[in-house]
């Protein structure tokens, strides 16, 4: 059953560009990018148990790295995206260092500050980042003569990286690293006592998570081909955090569901127009009061879906 279901979903997502109209497909691409972001944030928050409210910073670092490389040095997307990931990885180590000494509430303040600093730097370093106007005309990727100009073709690039993120994260969790992350979440002191190098793994969690966020940033920049600091605000960090919490903290598929819900909800609730954000706030409170452990728990009650949500 699980196998059939997995194949069904795989083929469904593979075939989306064949039958979805232009706009819904654009949404599917956006969802894909946010899936990567949410799954990556889950590595820090859900698995390692550290609070981060500055994830948009890594998204921004990735987006600006690969678009600047492409615009100023003509570096192709395929190299740029990994450069973006690696630069983000570096920033992740940078932000990971305070976690050695700073905990809980203090850590959330450090991550907020880090996010705001990166955003302000993007606005103010005008000669490099284009300031508040941002960068436009970022080229779409291409292979030989074929350029991924349409959402139909770009969708496959995003799908590839989203699947890569999901499955490598699942694999990571079953490895030595994943078990170390979980042990830090459950009880840091106990983990240290049994010989887990907690400082090393905490920094590593931030760095790995940032790597994926950098990939997402690069995809975003090359997909919409225009970036400015407004896309990487504190609000973006909050949205990603909301995705993983309402989806189900510490569950990869939960993050995927959360990314779908939060990205698609405003589209389905269009009729509410300007009331949407207020209703969204209200909905968030209701979720936290009545369904704290996330949407994924609903699936866990259904027998055939249980195996998927592990």
């Amino acid at each position: 059953m699980k196998k059939i279901l997995s194949w069904f979903f795989f083929l469904l997502f593979l075939s989306l560009p064949l039958w979805l109209p232009h706009y819904p497909l654009h949404l599917a691409c956006t969802v894909g990018i946010f899936v990567i972001l949410a799954v990556s944030l889950n590595i820090i928050v859900g698995f390692t148990g550290q609070i981060s409210l500055g994830h948009a910073a890594f998204f921004a670092v990735g987006a600006y790295t690969s678009s600047l490389l492409a615009m100023k040095f003509g570096v192709p997307f395929w190299i740029g995206i990994f450069a973006a990931g690696i630069v983000s990885f570096g920033f992740g180590i940078l932000l990971g260092i305070p976690t050695l000494r700073v905990r809980d509430i203090y850590l959330s303040v450090v991550t907020i500050c880090f996010g705001l600093m990166v955003q302000l730097a993007l606005v103010n370093l005008e000669p490099i980042t284009g300031g508040a106007r941002g960068i436009y005309g970022i080229p779409r990727p291409s292979v030989g003569d074929f350029a991924f100009m349409t959402p139909q073709s770009f969708y496959y690039i995003i799908l590839f990286f989203a699947l890569l993120t999901i499955f490598s994260t699942l694999r990571l969790l079953r490895s030595r690293f994943g078990r170390a992350f979980l042990s830090i979440r459950e009880n840091e002191l106990a983990a240290e006592t049994v010989g887990v190098r907690t400082t090393y793994y905490k920094i590593l969690a931030f760095a790995i998570s940032s790597f994926y966020a950098g990939l997402a940033g690069s995809l975003y920049a090359h997909y919409v081909s225009y970036i400015n600091p407004d896309a990487f605000t504190f609000g973006t960090s909050v949205d990603v955090l909301v995705m993983i919490v309402i989806g189900g903290l510490g569950n990869v598929w939960g993050s995927v569901i959360g990314a779908f819900v939060i990205t698609l909800l405003p589209e389905y609730l269009r009729f509410m127009q300007q009331y949407y954000r207020a209703v969204f706030g209200l909905g968030l409170i209701f979720m936290m009061v009545f369904m704290r452990s996330g949407i994924i728990t609903v699936f866990q009650r259904v027998p055939w879906a249980r195996s998927l949500s592990k």
Partner: protein
């Protein structure tokens, strides 16, 4: 400016001590009361004291309502749940304010006059003197309240240890409700004092709460005098770095300093540890 951040930070810390919740909606109390006094005083032409009192009381009521409807049901949940909940409250309040008062920022007339007074070489603006005066009175009042009255002492008991307090026959729920009311009043007061300095808009809440949060953290989270001082430090350093270094980078510098402080003194400047 620093004193106002201090006030917000104070309310923020009160709630943290009592309910172990990081209240991201604290800035919205300022925003709402700023709008209320704008409506009462400017639009409806009430006398200032009446408008002032009404705005303060209503924000206190708002604080109690927020506690009853959102904080009480999630008490004891993990910090992340609490963060998301108060962020939800903040999003809800600031966007609801948009329907009532629109998205445009409003200018608020100066209440105490802005003709400068000369003291030798120092120039002072009456409004700022008033703010300093009000905040100092308030701090003394709060001190007396917390150390001299039964209600104040009970509130401190709840903040110290909820379980023991309830064993002593204190109604913890009622006290936490009252603490929310009190800190919403503080936030409301900050909002009113702030209105003539900046402007009144539906989206100021989050920026204010972030500053106050940082102030509270610098002061050693959980310490009330620390919160006040931390808020003042944030306000002063923000203005000084804007003046001496560059207004574009003032926030970058402030955040950098904060991160540095936290790395070297992981639980704030005034912590006991």
């Amino acid at each position: 400016m620093g004193g106002i951040y201090g006030l917000i930070a104070l309310g923020f810390t009160l709630i943290w001590n009592a309910a172990a919740v990081v209240n991201f909606a604290q800035g919205e109390f300022c925003m709402v009361s700023g709008f209320l006094i704008l409506t009462f005083f400017v639009h409806w032409g009430w006398p200032f004291p009446a408008a002032f009192l009404a705005a303060i009381v209503l924000s206190g009521v708002l604080g109690v309502i927020v506690e009853r409807t959102t904080i009480r049901p999630i008490r004891g949940a993990d910090p992340l749940t609490a963060i998301i909940t108060t962020l939800g409250v903040s999003i809800f309040l600031s966007n609801s304010a948009k329907f009532v008062w629109g998205t445009h920022p409003f200018h608020f007339p100066s209440i105490f006059g802005d003709k400068p007074i000369q003291f030798g070489k120092i120039t002072l603006i009456p409004q700022n003197l008033w703010i300093i005066g009000i905040i100092s009175t308030l701090v003394v009042g709060l001190y007396l309240f917390f150390f001299q009255t039964i209600t104040g002492k009970v509130m401190r008991a709840v903040a110290q240890d909820r379980e023991t307090a309830s064993l002593m026959g204190i109604s913890v729920n009622r006290m936490i409700g009252m603490i929310f009311g009190l800190s919403a009043v503080l936030g409301g007061l900050a909002g009113i004092l702030l209105a003539p300095i900046i402007y009144v808009a539906s989206d100021i809440g989050l920026a204010l709460v972030l500053k106050a949060f940082m102030g509270a953290v610098i002061g050693g989270f959980g310490s009330l005098p620390g919160a006040l001082i931390g808020g003042i430090v944030i306000g002063i350093s923000e203005n000084l770095s804007a003046f001496y270094i560059s207004s574009d980078y003032k926030d970058v510098i402030a955040f950098g300093v904060l991160i540095a402080i936290l790395i070297f003194k992981p639980s704030g400047l005034f912590s006991k540890k």
